[in-house]
Every structure is written in C-alpha cells, then in structure tokens.
Amino acid sequence: MEDMIKGNHVFAEAALRAGARFYAGYPITPSTEIMEYLSTRMDEVGGVYIQAESEQASMNILTGASASGVRCFTASSSVGMTLKQEAISHMADSDLPFLAINVVRYGNGLGNLQTGQSDYYRDTRGGGSGDYRNFVLSPYSLQESVELIAHAFDLGDKYGMGAILHTEASLGQMMEPCSFPEMKTVERRPGAIDGTHSQERISPLFRDRFAEALEMKERYKRAIENEQMWKDEYLEDADYVLVAYGLAGRSVMGAVEKLRAEGHKVGFIRPITLWPFPEKAFAKVNPAVKGYISMEENAAGQMVDDIALTLKKTEQRDKPVYCFTYASSIPTLKRIKSDFIKVTNGEVKEVY
C-alpha cells in the first residue's frame, strides 16, 4: 500500500533507502523539509547528519565525507546551490561522487519561493570553474524521484562523478502516493584519509593533469553514450514534438493525450537525464516532422538550445524549434493546448 507523503520527505527517505549515510546541508525554502526530516531520521539508520553554518561549508563537509568513501548527499534550492559550486568543482577534480538535490525555486539571485526550472543551464553545464559535468536527473513524479535518487548514487559511484536531482518547488512541496524499496546496504568505497597519499586524485602531488583531462573526456563520452534516459510517445507519426521535463513534462504528457484525442498528430519527449541530454530520443522522430516545441518553467528559454544543438547533429537540422516559457508556474493542459495551436496557426516565430 502506498502512503501519501510529501515530496521533500520522499527525497530524503529515498536517499537513505539507497544506502546514503551522510548528510550535510543548510536550510532554504522550498527544500528545508529534506533536512528537517533527516534531523531525526538519519539517527535512526545510524548515519551522520550535520547542519552546517552555510551552504558552502556543507558542500566542503561533503567533500570530506565522499573522500572517506561514504554515500553522501546534500540538498538546497537554486541560490543555495550557487554557494556550493566551488566545492562541487573541487569534487569533480577529485572524482568524488555525491548527490545534490536542487529543489529549484524560480528566479535570479534570491529569486522567489515559487516553482521553476530556471537552473537548467547552471546544473547541466557544471556550475563552477573548470569544464566538468555532473549527472542531472529530473523526476516528473515522486515515485520516479525514488528510482532516480537510487540511480543517481549508482551513476556517481560508477563514473566517479557528482549527480544532481534537478527538481522543482512544486514537486518538493506536494504530496502524492509513493512507495519505497527496502533499505539497501552499500559498501564504503576505499577512503582517502588513510595516513598515506594513496589516492592521487585527492592530493595535489604527483598529478598528470593533461592525462587526467583526456581520461575525463573519455569518461564523459561513455556517460553520454550509455546513460541517456527519457520517456517518449507518439514520435513515429508526429507532426510536432513537444519537449518538456519535470512537472512541465507531466503536463505536456497529459496535453498530448488530449491533443491526440482531438486529432492532432503530436508526440512528446520528456528528458529524464538533463545531462547527458537524451539525444537518442530524437532519432525516433518522424522524418517529416514539422517542428519541435520546448516548454519550460523559466523566462529566457534554456533547454531549447540543447534541442537545437541536438537537431544540428541529425538530418532534421533545419526543422524549426519553438519555445514557450512559463516563468515560475507549471503550464496547465489548457495553456499547452492553446500555445500548441498558436504554432500550428503560424502565430509564433521559431527560436531556431
């Protein structure tokens, strides 16, 4: 039997079920309930919970935890994630895995407290100095978040990379039925603080950074080739393909069903991994498709660029790509339908 449970509590419990035993963070709306929940729950499973003095400190603490080989995670929201970027870049330099749950709140700077997807670029491009990447996964439901959190930890361990659960205020704050897997026990990775300098990537000594860069490039290539995740439907005969992730993706999936029922040949791609971007999904699309429509919870349009770049690699490089942005709100089915009709009527201009 599934219980009704709040999103932020789901994220926290899912991480514990996946074997995470270390959390450090600093509270920020709309992600605070994650650490509030863990403040008592972590002790019950024998893990370590630290409320740090700042976001920056919490991520530096996580660096030490990961270097000690424990499955570790943090959580924050947009502007709080910004403060973690320096340590995230350092962790990438040392191949240290972690999970950061970003319950996105919309806006620049402090932004507002409402939902949004305005951190797409920051999270998918690395965020700090350097040219590293993190896995970025975005759930459309709480049940999917349980699966993705476990998967994110496994990906991090497999590739020696960080992972970000890029979700939204609305998913963190809403309740829906959700079930959890049994508690998993994870072996600790070999720790680096062993009295010697056994793990070269964790000390600045004896490093060949050029060789490391080439190795990193190959590793990212492997991740792009093997780890793309998405959900799609009705692509083979689609005149138009709607692309959206997270809760916007959930709305789009519903809207596509409605539009299909009304006779519109429309399909959807819902990216689940935002990095690596699910390029392979686009290979399934009807060669005679008339255009792609990105629907995003931001103002400027961000993922639309990745769609255009993906098409550039295919025979569909000249197809128009449209973009609708809904700032800090989840698009309704009605709104998606009316915006789609604007495209078919030629009322909006493509971005690419």
Binding site: I193, G195, T196, H197, S203, P204, L205
Partner: protein, 68 residues
C-alpha cells in the same frame, strides 16, 4: 620511524607543531633546500596518531604504521 617527513615540502607554518598532542614536532636547526627550517618528528614521543598528516596543508607527512 612512525612518520615519514618530506622536509622539502615544509614551509614552516607550524600547524603540525601546534596540533601535535604529544609535542613531538619541532622545527629543525638545519635550513632546507627551499630555505625554511622544516619540521622534525621526535620518534620517541610520537605515537603515530596521524593528526599532523590530517592538519598539514602541504602533504609533508605520511603515517607509516606497520611499515615504519
């Protein structure tokens, strides 16, 4: 020997000296190749606890344990 010291990496900051619980670390009278008075460990006082290894910002120490 319980702790190996890479004297050429030492910049004489004294963090290890301040944190050693057995006061086993002091500055050498000799000048190192980099021009500092690098740290030396008194093996009779040292218990091999690893605090100097943890604190040192310049990877000077290695705890030898059974390998000493």
């Amino acid at each position: 020997m319980k702790v190996k010291v890479r004297q050429e990496r030492c910049k004489e900051c004294g963090i290890c000296v301040a944190n050693c619980p057995k006061k086993a670390i002091s500055f050498s009278e000799e000048i190192s190749v980099t021009g500092y008075r690098p740290v030396v460990v008194n093996d009779e006082l040292c218990i091999g606890c690893g605090i100097c290894y943890t604190m040192c910002p310049d990877w000077v120490f290695e705890i030898l344990g059974d390998r000493g």
